[in-house]
């Protein structure tokens, strides 16, 4: 196989998978704590626009990512306050957060439309990545390495640490966790903030990694795909990694068929619709295999109402 042809395809695939992987890992932690935040898409858009604006203004992508995470985490606190402190409906509040994020990013990004930034490239020396195979190891943006580390970190946190155990307990049986003396609301606030920050970093991948400019609704529904992936992965980080790369593959096919012009008689709109159709297909497959018994955290989406 031709190395010069395959390596760029793999690099495109990794680029397409990275934002949904990061955002979905954040949402996985949120859902493990028993909270369903449908605002991922909105928080990703906030992260995308903040990352772009900061990188454009300061020229420092690291600062861009940091402030994107902070901005999206701040936005997630609106959701947390409404659903956790005021026990508002999580579905409706999450939707409102997405509408808010879409509006905010469009308003804030207006001044930046049509302005270019440079892609946030590998931090390793150029010389390391001359051979195609070495490019696969050293040729990525720091965001890609971050996403891979995050898979392991989330797995390790949930499975191996005491804090992760408490978080899972809160998501599986909030009343018991409360009666042992853990702060259910506190744990959930922290989880939602983490999910917000990760959605922000995931969103920052769009201007920093994929298309180095700002456009309204830049994330094009990737936040919703991230939500579907968490279900697909049955709330397991490593399966989430596989799922994200599966979707990256579908999106890479879309990109390459569009670029090559020839789509074999199939209209290009079909390829554009494919990731969304694939999401539905995957949701069907997963529920066929599961046959009745659900892997979802028991308290997912339910408000915590201690009887006092």
């Amino acid at each position: 196989m031709n190395m010069d042809l395959v390596v760029p395809i793999i690099i495109t695939l990794i680029g397409a998978s990275t934002p949904i992987l990061i955002a979905a890992l954040g949402e996985l932690v949120v859902e493990k704590s028993g909270v369903l935040n449908l605002g991922v898409e909105g928080m990703m858009l906030i992260g995308a626009v903040v990352a772009f604006a900061v990188t454009y203004t300061t020229g420092n992508p690291w600062l861009g990512i940091l402030l994107a995470a902070a901005a999206s985490a701040a936005a997630s606190m609106i959701f947390a306050f409404l659903t956790l402190s005021l026990s508002a409906n999580q579905v409706a509040t999450g939707l409102a957060l997405t509408i808010f994020g879409t509006g905010f990013s469009a308003l804030f990004g207006q001044a930046y439309t049509g302005k270019p930034i440079s892609i946030f490239r590998s931090i390793f020396p150029e010389a390391l990545a001359t051979h195609p195979l070495w490019r696969l190891v050293f040729g990525h943006s720091p965001l890609v390495y971050f996403s891979l580390l995050l898979v392991v970190a989330v797995w390790w946190f949930l499975k191996k640490t005491r804090a992760g155990l408490i978080l899972r307990a809160v998501g599986e049986n909030d009343l018991s966790a409360h009666s042992i003396g853990y702060s259910v609301i506190g744990v959930r606030y922290a989880a939602v903030a983490f999910g917000g920050a990760m959605a922000g970093i995931g969103g920052s991948c769009f201007p920093l990694l994929l298309t180095p400019q700002w456009a309204e609704r830049l994330t094009a529904g990737r936040g919703w795909i991230a939500l579907a992936l968490v279900v697909f992965a049955a709330w397991r980080p490593f399966r989430l990694f596989g799922g994200a790369y599966l979707f990256g593959l579908v999106m890479t096919i879309e990109l390459y068929t569009k670029a090559s012009g020839g789509t074999g008689g199939v209209p290009s709109e079909f390829w554009a619709a494919l990731p969304y159709l694939a999401t539905i297909a995957v949701l069907v497959l997963i529920s066929l295999r599961r046959s009745g018994h659900s892997a979802a955290p028991a308290c997912l989406g339910k408000p915590f109402l201690p009887t006092n």
Binding site: V91, I99, L107, A220, V231, S287
Partner: protein, 360 residues
């Protein structure tokens, strides 16, 4: 002095109806502050968005025309939300309704007669229903979450629309623009008030809301929806089929979103264009909540939201407020409303802090 929350024995009716008004007022107040902070004339922005459309009689016809699709879609969504069925893909069902109506219009181009428009409307409702069919099937058969499936289908609907207007349905005389032919006179909604843009869709919206009110408050189906939504176990004991309720809720909301779609394409648009998806399907979600999921409340909420939509357009031209600003106002309205839900269920009591704790 400190505040304490006490659960009410019964949800407060007064709070239920007062809080949406409070949410709108708070949105105006906070909106004015926020937009002033980011460098716009905040007070003027709020005045243009919330007051100008009401005071200017020339804008009233716009309010009627913009509120009609919002009311029709929101009435359908509210039926589902009451049953705990979360159809958030109304935008896709709205597009399919418009496409199905357009399909009939293109097929009947060489015919004339009063039967064409009703046929288009029926096709639109079936089109919307077809886009809700898959989420309903997957939810009832395989427990697949309808939130994600209905939303994913919205993105598919947008691509289908693009494909049709760029490809097979493109107007051959259209100078290459991606749009269909203009509809013929028999395919366009009649205007009910001469000299205005107010079309048949406006009275249809009111009839839809009234019919839904009757069904929800007087018929067994309405009762079934409420029981399945609030107490699924009780519903099962009562012999109500949860799955049938899900089917009915999703198909009804799909059909109504499709109805809104065909009324839009046969009304204000007059042909199918790529800019047909105008976010009515998403805005209607806010309308449904603002109207307290009650058909009559939704009429008022639809009008209020239409004020914001029309006002947003006014503010774009008069003070160069970006179109996206309206989205921020809309989401703020929903945030405040959801926050105020607490007041419906709880009572805020002031508790004196000078209570003496006696320890033995």
């Amino acid at each position: 002095m400190q505040f304490r929350l006490e659960k009410r024995a019964e949800p407060s009716k007064a709070m239920l109806y007062l809080t949406p008004i409070g949410a709108v007022l708070l949105t105006a107040l906070v909106g004015a502050i926020i937009f002033s902070l980011i460098g716009y004339d905040g007070v003027r922005a709020v005045r243009e968005i919330f007051v100008t459309p009401i005071l200017n009689p020339l804008k009233w016809q716009d309010l009627a025309v913009k509120s009609a699709p919002l009311i029709i879609i929101a009435v359908g969504l509210a039926i589902g939300y009451r049953a705990n069925v979360w159809n958030i893909g109304a935008e896709g069902q709205y597009i399919l309704g418009g496409l199905a109506g357009t399909g009939v219009a293109l097929l009947t181009r060489d015919f004339s007669g009063p039967w064409i428009l009703p046929l288009m409307i029926v096709a639109g409702m079936v089109g919307g229903m077809s886009w809700a069919f898959l989420p309903a099937l997957l939810r009832t058969r395989l427990q697949v979450n309808e939130i994600l499936t209905s939303l994913m289908l919205t993105y598919v609907a947008i691509q289908l629309l693009n494909y049709l207007v760029i490809g097979p349905w493109k107007d051959p005389m259209g100078f290459g623009f991606p749009q269909t032919r203009m509809f013929t006179a028999d395919q366009l909604l009649p205007h009910i008030i001469p000299g205005t843009i107010v079309h048949m869709g406006v009275p249809i919206a009111v009839v839809v809301a009234l019919a839904a009110w009757f069904v929800m408050s007087r018929l067994v189906f309405g009762y079934q929806i409420k029981v399945v939504g609030s107490a699924p176990n009780a519903a099962r004991y009562g012999g109500f089929s949860v799955n049938r309720t899900i089917w009915m809720a999703l198909l009804t909301s799909g059909a109504l979103a499709g109805l809104a779609g065909v009324l839009e394409v046969a009304g204000p648009f007059g042909r199918m264009v790529p800019s047909f998806p105008t976010n009515y399907g998403f805005t209607a979600i806010i309308v449904a909540f603002l109207g307290r999921l009650h058909p009559i409340g939704i009429i008022f909420a639809g009008l209020a939201m239409a004020v914001a939509v029309v006002g947003g357009e006014v503010a774009q031209t008069t003070i160069q407020l970006p179109a996206a600003a309206v989205g921020i106002f809309q989401s703020m309205m929903l945030f405040f409303l959801l926050a105020s839900d607490l007041l419906v269920r709880y009572r805020v009591r002031m508790v004196g802090s000078n209570r003496v704790e006696v320890t033995p």
